[in-house]
Assembly symmetry: C2
Homo-oligomer: 241 residues x 2
């Protein structure tokens, strides 16, 4: 198998958001990611292996500093309708760091989050750094892009809960936590530096706080967004064990 | 205030580990980091502000893509003797990603970890990406570089516990957890891809596992190293609330 100059150029162009948007495609790299793509319900458009196209072509295709032995071009699934009736969700209110978004997807996958909802200003899901940081969770966790305040208002209207962490929230460990058995429960995650936006904060029904240790001396002013997500979600799930 | 070409060159050279090692200095950037450095016990060698040296000089000094308004050159503290008699510690067994190390320091700071011990093959603490990811925790969390197996053996010999997370470990939430009230307790964090090394694993007295949800279906094969650290440490601290 060889690869044409044209094909090479097309795959390389997917490093840029503009071309990902235009084509509706994205790239995954690494043996594990490629096999997860193939085993998923996603449409795999093409697969390139170093053994087949050669080291030089692979180095040109790859967006990684050390090219992996396999790379696939995958079609982005079409946006699907989303009207949850119950379950536990994450709502990302302006996550900007690709590594954080990828890590949050991986956390969502581990802890069985039903879907992740991201605000329009959250980093693009198909950014290569996000894709790689998900370690395959991108193929398993449903992802929707919606206006977070409107989504939260619809959850509240349906009798659900909207949780968020705030420095003046209540101790996570002493609050009643609803995992969404009867109506949807949403955990809102704020932007890395600004936290939850005022418009979204107005829709939060239950304000939580992850207690530091000792309780009166946090040291740091805050936790990283993905870390706060994990500690909060782990506690929701611990309750149901 | 102006800045000489020589001074500019010296500060810029600190982007490289070689020069950080030679000089024993490192760089912190951002108003918040600089004020935390000044308020800490660390020796601040020099401070540069955009208002004083001008935008162009600042852009040349900075290691960030968008130069911040302030930058400080700080002296690395001399290695100190370390013989814990009690308390809760993290031992990093080959953490390679700078963002992970910085985030782990921030977690350690929030949850009052007494010190972080890093293996010789853990990424350098004064790497600019680590420093910035700590968000100031670098000034508050004691850090030691030691051989992890030897350290763990000394903890065990003194009657302490060595915890580690493994896929075949026991449920974190049903284990007795000792925060080190009488002898040191150590939580070992493994390498991002290989986990805890066999030599260190042989010293782990208590094997833990963070249960996924649902319990029999993790989705992902694992959690990110900093995420697993946070969920584990949060549970140790929750018990003492």
């Amino acid at each position: 198998m060889s690869i044409s100059k044209n094909e090479l150029r097309q795959v390389r162009s997917l490093a840029q958001k503009k071309f990902r948007d235009e084509t509706g495609l994205f790239v995954v790299e690494g043996e594990k990611m490629v096999s997860e793509a193939l085993a998923s319900g996603f449409e795999v458009v093409s697969v390139y292996r170093r053994d087949e196209i050669g080291e030089e072509a692979m180095a040109r295709l790859s967006q990684l500093s050390s090219p992996s032995p396999a790379l696939a071009v995958v079609r982005q699934p079409a946006p699907a309708a989303f009207r949850p009736v119950k379950g536990l969700y994450l709502a990302l209110d302006g996550i900007r760091d690709p590594g954080n978004l990828g890590t949050i997807l991986r956390v969502a996958d581990w802890f069985g989050i039903d879907a992740v909802i991201a605000s329009p200003d959250t980093v693009e899901l198909y950014n290569p750094k996000v894709v790689q940081a998900t370690m395959g969770a991108i193929f398993r966790v449903p992802f929707h892009r919606l206006e977070i305040p409107a989504f939260c208002r619809s959850v509240l209207a349906g009798g659900g809960h909207v949780y968020g962490t705030f420095l003046n929230g209540e101790n996570l460990y002493s609050k009643t936590l609803d995992c969404g058995s009867a109506a949807p429960s949403v955990i809102v995650i704020g932007n890395e530096s600004k936290g939850i936006s005022p418009e979204t904060a107005a829709c939060v029904s239950d304000r939580l706080f992850i207690p530091p240790y000792p309780a009166d001396d946090p040291g740091s002013e805050s936790l990283n967004a993905a870390i706060a997500t994990a500690v909060t979600v782990a506690e929701f799930r611990r309750r149901s064990l």
